[in-house]
């Protein structure tokens, strides 16, 4: 897949706006050849060097009137170019975003979200604006060809004399331009150092204050700023130099015209009007050559940008990046399918056989885990830190890709767990749940139709009503980025409510109580068991909590990714050393687990 392929497909995704842009800019540039011709007519008429073909009033009327279609075409261009960039950009972003969302959820990104976002933003926008500038280049080229033809017809010798230095300077600056790219990169990197350092320091302002190290931090900042100044200055100076070279090409060209015209002007073979025309065209044509140089460099850069975007697809076919797909920039939006329970899919039994997965980086994982969940049962998975509890849940739900093993739902094999284990089949609360900067209600519903669900019951099950009463806006409270305006316990309970409201057949939750207060936690388990008593929904739970262990229909004890014991609590306490130790250390490790999980998720 080369840059040309991607560009071709992107043009195909919004062909009309792209063609409109190309046609419009070419037309508008052709209009710009006319003022040069009119100036020649005027000066020729003035000096009497050539017979006047147009009188003054015609020239002036043409001069002003011809600006109107030009203005219209520029305004139209601003529409076509933005439409193209943001429509084709929507395709790239949709494809990347879809791919990431459909990957095993726990391993979706090759880099941090902050890093990935620069691919969604700069890489997409810049490559597409470059494509638009390619249209500018085409139009400038058309101007250059038309202008060149007019100039050759006027005076072939001077035309050649003017164009030679132009070509030479363009070739020369091409070499220099590569240097500029490296200066620019250095300048950007030093800016990144400064803002990165600021972010680190301001994110840990309290630590700096408590350590009493404000001054040494400020000194370091000032040092980094100094480096940034040097890099920024060099970048700016160099680009200014380059710009001045291309400006000077016009002056150089003008001087060349003067030199060559000195003799011919006297003989009348080159008129003042011709001179005005040449100077006017020269400026526009040198725009073409400098843009040509810029775009050549940008084309290389676009290749790098596409490669960076493709890495977000993580091994999928690179062409998927530009695969055709509706992006809904016009017309009605798609409707969200609501989960509907299908009677024959109602859970009777979930079986897992020999499920295995290992993290490529560490080699840790789970080996041959079996599980048998009858409908309505309450199963607890327990084990020490790092024994593979979370990994097992993630692999079962398709959030990690299983290496081996079978999953059967009512004796039917589940071939793609990631697509299957969603509401109405199952719902899940991860150990460190994420909320998003919307209202609390949006966070709970995530697109569910409010009229079809029992939100109050979910809130009550998750012990959130008291908290809600204290929020002035209630369910419409905006929770802030990643839920920062809520406490850790509130985030966890909101995530639990998000799971309950989906009314799924299988509830899977990972260490639900790790960030909760003792009292709230007790309430939560009580309500959950009371509810379970009425409507025996099937639960699969990771927990150390004695409340959960006591209540479990079966307990699965994991150690080093393998099942070492299973059964009811009393039997296990009698027979399993692991279980005895876990029971004794009891609730103590829960906090450490939470921290560990946050660590892994970063």
């Amino acid at each position: 897949m080369n840059t040309f392929y991607y560009y071709r497909r992107l043009i195909g995704s919004a062909p009309w706006s792209w063609c409109g842009d190309l046609g419009g800019i070419t037309l508008s540039v052709l209009f710009e050849t006319i003022p040069g011709l009119l100036a020649r007519e005027f000066f020729n008429g003035l000096s009497g060097a050539a017979p006047a073909r147009l009188n003054l009033s015609t020239i002036i009327v043409l001069l002003v009137l011809l600006r109107l279609p030009w203005v219209l075409s520029i305004v139209a261009l601003s529409m076509t170019s933005t439409t193209f960039v943001y429509t084709a950009g929507a395709l790239l972003r949709t494809n990347m975003f879809r791919h990431i969302l459909h990957r095993p959820g726990a391993q979706a990104l090759p880099a941090s979200p902050g890093e990935a976002i620069s691919r969604f933003r700069e890489d997409v926008d810049e490559t597409l604006w470059d494509l638009i500038r390619f249209n500018d280049l085409v139009s400038f080229m058309v101007f250059a060809i038309v202008g060149f033809a007019i100039m050759v017809r006027t005076n072939i010798l001077i035309t050649i004399a003017v164009f030679l230095p132009l070509v030479l300077v363009t070739l020369l600056t091409q070499q220099v331009r590569r240097r500029l790219e490296s200066y620019r990169a250095a300048s950007r990197a030093s800016t990144g150092d400064v803002t990165g350092f600021l972010g680190e320091i301001l994110g840990a302002a309290q630590a700096v204050q408590v350590a009493g190290k404000e001054d040494s931090v400020v000194r370091r900042f000032s040092h980094l700023s100094e480096q940034r100044r040097t890099a920024g200055l060099r970048d700016k100076l160099f680009s200014q130099l380059l710009e001045s070279i291309s400006t000077n090409t016009v002056n150089l060209g003008t001087a060349v015209i003067l030199l060559f015209a000195a003799q011919q002007m006297k003989t009348g073979r080159f008129t003042v009007g011709d001179f005005a025309l040449f100077v006017y065209y020269l400026g526009r044509i040198s725009d073409f050559t400098s843009l040509f140089g810029v775009l050549l460099a940008r084309y290389r850069q676009a290749g790098i940008s596409f490669a960076r975007m493709v890495t977000l697809l993580k091994g999928a076919f690179p062409g998927d990046l530009v695969a055709a797909r509706p992006v809904y920039t016009r017309g009605p939006f798609p409707t969200i399918p609501q989960p509907v329970r299908v009677p024959h899919e109602q859970l009777q039994r979930l079986e897992v056989l020999g499920l295995s997965f290992h993290y490529p980086s560490s080699g840790h994982g789970i080996d041959d885990v079996d599980l048998d969940l009858p409908a309505g049962s309450f199963t607890v998975i327990t084990g020490r830190i790092g024994s593979g509890k979370t990994t097992f849940l993630r692999t079962l739900l398709g959030l990690l890709p299983a290496e081996r093993g079978h999953i059967r739902w009512n004796d039917q094999p589940v071939s793609d767990p990631a697509t299957f284990f969603v509401p109405p089949h199952s719902a899940y609360t991860p150990q460190v749940p994420r909320l998003f900067s919307d209202t609390l209600k949006d966070n709970l519903l995530l697109g569910l139709d409010e009229t079809g669900v029992d939100l109050q019951q979910a809130l009550s099950l998750a012990v959130l009503e008291d908290d809600l009463r204290q929020m002035p806006a209630g369910l419409d409270t905006v929770v802030g980025t990643r839920g920062v305006r809520l406490s850790g316990g509130q985030i966890q309970r909101a995530a639990a409510a998000r799971m309950f409201v989906r009314d799924a057949e299988l509830l899977v939750f990972d260490d639900l109580s790790s960030a909760l207060d003792v009292e709230v936690e007790a309430q939560l388990w009580e309500r959950l068991f009371a509810r379970h008593h009425q409507v025996p929904v099937t639960c699969l739970v990771v927990s150390h909590r004695r409340a959960a262990l006591r209540r479990a229909d079966q307990i699965i004890v994991l150690r080093d990714g393998r099942v070492v014991a299973r059964g009811r609590l009393d039997d296990l306490l009698a027979s399993s050393l692991d279980m005895q130790q876990l029971w004794a250390s009891g609730d103590r490790h829960a906090g450490a687990e939470q921290q560990q999980a946050e660590h892994e998720n970063l």
Binding site: I60, T254, A255
Partner: protein
Amino acid sequence: MHPPRTHYGSLLRDYVWPQRQRVVLLSGALLTSIALQIANPQVLRYFIDTAQQNAPTHLLIAAALLFLCGALLNQVATVAATYFSELVGWTATNNLRTQLLDHVLHLDRSFHADRTPGELIERIDGDVAALANFFSQFVIQIVGNLLLCAGVIVVVGVIDGWIALALAATSVVMFTLLLRLQRIAVPARLAGRQSSADLFGFIEERLGGTEDLRSNGAIPYTMLRLYQLMRRRLHLERRAAVRGAGAFTTTTVFSAVYVAIAFILIKRHVLLGTMTIGTAYLIFFYTQTLMHPITLISRQLEDFQKAAAGILRIDELLQIHSALSVGPGVPLPDGPLSVEFDNVSFGYDTDDAVLTSIGLSVGAGRVLGILGRTGSGKTTLTRLLFRLYDPTAGALRLGGVDLRDASLAELRERVGVVTQEVQLFHATIRENLTFFDDTISDRRILAVLDRLGLQAWYARLSHGLDTMLASGSSGGLSAGEAQVLALVRVFLKDPGLVILDEASSRLDPATEQLVEQAVDALLTGRTGLVIAHRLQTVLRADDILILENGGKAEYGRRTALQDDPTSRFSHLLRVGLDEVLV
């Protein structure tokens, strides 16, 4: 809204005046460039007129060469002006940034609690960057380009007053029109920017929560939100582009008007025989020149709007002062510090007390264990000790000195704190330990690592103290390792009082013993305040304080409370070791 005019003046005085030599050089380069832009076209006039009069060729060639020299000299002047203005701008903004960071780092916690790092970066880096232009270009560009316009009009006026008047009048009309159009274009552009920020904020957040979205069947909903935000961005950015194009096209329409006016007046003169062709061309050339400075001035004024908003926000930031008073700087005694809470009350808001009438005293060298539920005021109690806040009533004394009388710098030098969250930087291990303080030698760091029994841990680091921590709040370290770094930080200060907030909660079993050992070393010969939700952590304390709803629920020697079966502490020990739940 504009900041008071004096602010511009004081900004220029504080940050530009110290660089006045550079400013002089800058002005020189700029004036040279303006002069050349006015003078060089005169060579063209001479050339054309001379050619028309059939003069000797060598005169024409000399004129051509003179034109080339003038053009080259102008470029040199332009590059020099750019260099000096950038230099002035960068120096001024860097100084301002440094001052702002210094200011912000000395503000109290209530300031930082209300603001995200991203917001402050925007203030310190973003707003100041908008000012770069104000420092380096604003006056110079405005003055320079006005001079250029005036120069052109005066030179034309010498040739013909009416043409000059017409040019001046059209310039003014065009300039006002441009400002109008910009006023329409700018809000649209801001709306476009905001729609972009919304889109990418959405994407970033969702990328961090793929597990939650996927497993709860929220993918179709998330895609729909993406489509909505992308459509909104398309509409708003398109609107901004169309309005921007309006302002841009105006200038070129006016260039046609300029040329038309010039043509009419030139034609009259030439017919009357009062103007040569060379002069006619000169005026034509000048009218085209005039476009450029007018566009630049209007653009400068637009940048100035941005800078004005930035100045307002910066000023606002500088007006915020720490709520903590500056004491006379009574020195704290050496060695372990006794701690005394004298009827201390505190609330973050005036009507909501977090601590009420706390009175206690911890002898020098003793360890106090603090217990209580989340929200009982434990963390707040310790925050008062290193003056993140001052108490609303009562007094706090360290080694007999009221905290408000000691200097803040010394206080924080003598109190070592391990907070619940260990905050690490994306920097080397050394920088994380020393907080970028170059005066702390490696030998001293290594000695501390030795003292805390961390030689084996240190030996495993790939580049020793130069090992870079990964980005992200955990720094690529395990929770235990982060805790270890926090302990080394405190040890490097050699404080008289150590505060451990929930120190053992982040430990995994592997490093648990390592940290226990380090904590023991740290508490030896120092006063200690240890907070924990878990009872085990408190068992190393000499005294116990149980907080409830911001008040003292129980306070006494640990052993005494442990032996008293009716005490809350002994009850907690029994319940905690047994089962708190259900």
